[in-house]
Every structure is written in C-alpha cells, then in structure tokens.
Symmetry: C2
Subunit: 192 residues, 2 copies
Amino acid sequence: MSKKNAILLTATHLFAHKGLNNTSMAELSKITGAAGGTIFHHFKNKEDLFLNVINNVKETVTSAFKTYFLEHRFDNGLKMVEGAIMYYLNLAETMEDRFLLLHRHDPYKLAETNSTCRQYLEEIYDCLLDVFERGIKIGKDDGSIQIISTRNTALIIFSMIDGIVRFNTYKLYSAGALYDDLMASCRKILTR
Amino acid sequence: MSKKNAILLTATHLFAHKGLNNTSMAELSKITGAAGGTIFHHFKNKEDLFLNVINNVKETVTSAFKTYFLEHRFDNGLKMVEGAIMYYLNLAETMEDRFLLLHRHDPYKLAETNSTCRQYLEEIYDCLLDVFERGIKIGKDDGSIQIISTRNTALIIFSMIDGIVRFNTYKLYSAGALYDDLMASCRKILTR
DNA sequence: AAACCAACCGAATGATCGGTCGGGTTTTTT
DNA sequence: AAAAAACCCGACCGATCATTCGGTTGGTTT
C-alpha cells in the first residue's frame, strides 16, 4: 500500500477513536512509518488531511448504501425501510471507524467554516435519508405503510436508529439487545 | 459571584461549545478575569475542573427532572411519557450548554479511565431513563400503554428523542418542525 | 498585633504541537 | 542514460499548552 493511503487509513482510525485534536501528526508519522515531512507532502496541512478523510468516509458509506439498494429487491416499502435499518446497523459495525467519526463534533465543527466539508456531510445524510424516504414513499403507494409526512417520518426513524448506534458506541447499552423491539417500534410508527 | 463559580460556569460554556481540548486555561483565565494561578488554586488540574463541570451538569439536569415530575401529575402513563419527552426537549433548549456537553465525546472519553466521571454519567442517564420507564410502567397498569418490554421501549424512545436533539444541535434539521410527528410516532410505539 | 489562611496574582517552564525546509532517493519521461 | 518529476526523509522552528511557584492581599483567629 502506498504511503499516502496508509496515512489516510491510519488517520481515519485515529481521528475516529481519539478525535482530531488528540491525534498528533507525530503519532501518525510513527504508526505509518512515514516521516513528518511526507505527510505534509501528500496533504498540505492537518485540515486538508481531515477533509480527505471525510471525503473517503463519504465515498465508502454512500457507495455501500447505494450498491446495497441497487442489488436488493424488497417485497414492499415497509420491508425496504426495515432493510435500511438492518443495513445501517450492520454498516455501523463493519465500518466502525467511519461511523464513530460521524458521531464526533470534529466534522460538524469544520463544516461551520469549510463549505467543502459541509457539502460532504450533506451528501452523506442526503444519501442515507433518501433511502428511508424512498422506502416510505414506496410503502405508501403499495399500502404497506400508512402515514402522512414522508420526510418527517424518515427523519424520525433515522434519528432513532442513529441514536441507538450512538448509545451503543458509548457502551451505555447494546444495540443488539434492542434489535427486535426496535424493529417492532418502527413497524408501529409506519403502520396503523 | 465568586471567582470559583465564574470559572466553573465559563468552563461549562467553553467545554460545551469548543470542546475540552480546544479550550485553553489561558482563555478561561482571560474571560473570567481570574489569573492562571487562581484556576489551579481552585481546581487541581484541567481534568479536575472538567470533572467538577460534569458534576454540576449532573446536579442541575437530574434535579430539574426530578423536581418536574414531583410537581406534576398526569392523567395516565402515556401522558407522563409524553410529558417526559416535552420536558426533555424543553430542557435541551433552556440548558443548551449542558446538553451540548453531554453530546460531546469528552465526558465519555474521560469516563473510560475515571470512575467518578463514569458514575456521574450513569446517574444522569439513570435519572432520565427512570422517568420514561416509570411512565411506561404506569401506562401498562392503567391501560394507556400496551407493550411488552418496559425497559427496552424506554431506551428506544429515549434514544429517539436524544437523536433528534443531536441533529437539532448540528442544525441538520429542526426539532421544532418534527414535534407533532415525533409525538404521534411515540404514541404509536406505545399503543396498539 | 501577631499569626494564620484561603484567595489571588502573573511571570516562568518544559513539553508538545503543526508546519517548514533542504537535501536525498526512486520512478517516470524523454 | 540523462533529465525531470514525484516521493520521501528528519532535523528544526515558533507558537501554544498545562502547570508551577514565589509572592501579595484582606479578613479571621489567637
């Protein structure tokens, strides 16, 4: 693997687990084996490196989501929303680093001053919410879902799942133990 | 107000809005008007100051919650859960600093190595969850709520609300616009 | 009035940080 | 194989950080 890629992956891991400010370039240099100057050769400064990490998160997360819903068919809209929840919980485990990073303040703080960062974040959430929203819309058409507000319900269900993932991350309680009740709750929200 | 109190309140605000590492003791000194040495006279180090801030958050949040539910009566369990949601959303606005801090990684990171911090956080979440759980239990007894798992449902509803508050904080979307649909969703989860 | 003490001050300190620079090495192009 | 380009190195720099320390003040106790 190229030094640049090693730096990017290690930075993703460290930024996710220790935060932007608690990760020093010296540590990054030590772990990757790249000299200090090498990092600044590939990324013009720390913020640029962070931005590249976020971009990488955006690419991997959205493409994983898009691919999954291109390759899978669902009996109806309700099943599709259920599939989205399952896949989101699944991704949060297999892409732990990336979801951890999205639960930190660092990206949102940078987004306040850096429009590129803001755009990356918006693309991620647009992509995720879009799947939920499409599922609900399809469900309303095929009769498996009965609610009024498509957008708001998508937001509510998404933040419910994301809230669970967050508490799971902090080990306040386990997402796995809630799985069945979580699914039941979502079905109740979506159906009469 | 005493210098010590000024330091504590300013630290709460800065830690909440800028994070632990982005808040320097020098800045704290400048804003409060207290000399550098004075801060370390009252708090033995930065971690100790942060711990005192978390303790203060614990005290104010839990006592606000406890007082509210001691002084209010509800027609039934379902109304009590609805009241808990309303009051939680309300507190997240009026105690913005404190809830912002609880949505940062800083407290949970310290909790990994500092058992006092862990205990404070547990007390906060125990207190909040307890209200939801009691409401659900009462609702099951009086018939306004029909579900199987009291604990899990309390956790699910709580993380739904907390997830909304978090997205509201990041200005990804507004909690106010979701209020009606949020309440409707909760009622659906809790009733047949 | 002497002794005491908590509150307070601010200059000084050593460690660490992000970032620079000049020079060496490898790879690609011509 | 010569030239150009891209990659890589690590010593070094100025800024900033948390923390220390010797000393002052004003009120309370003896």
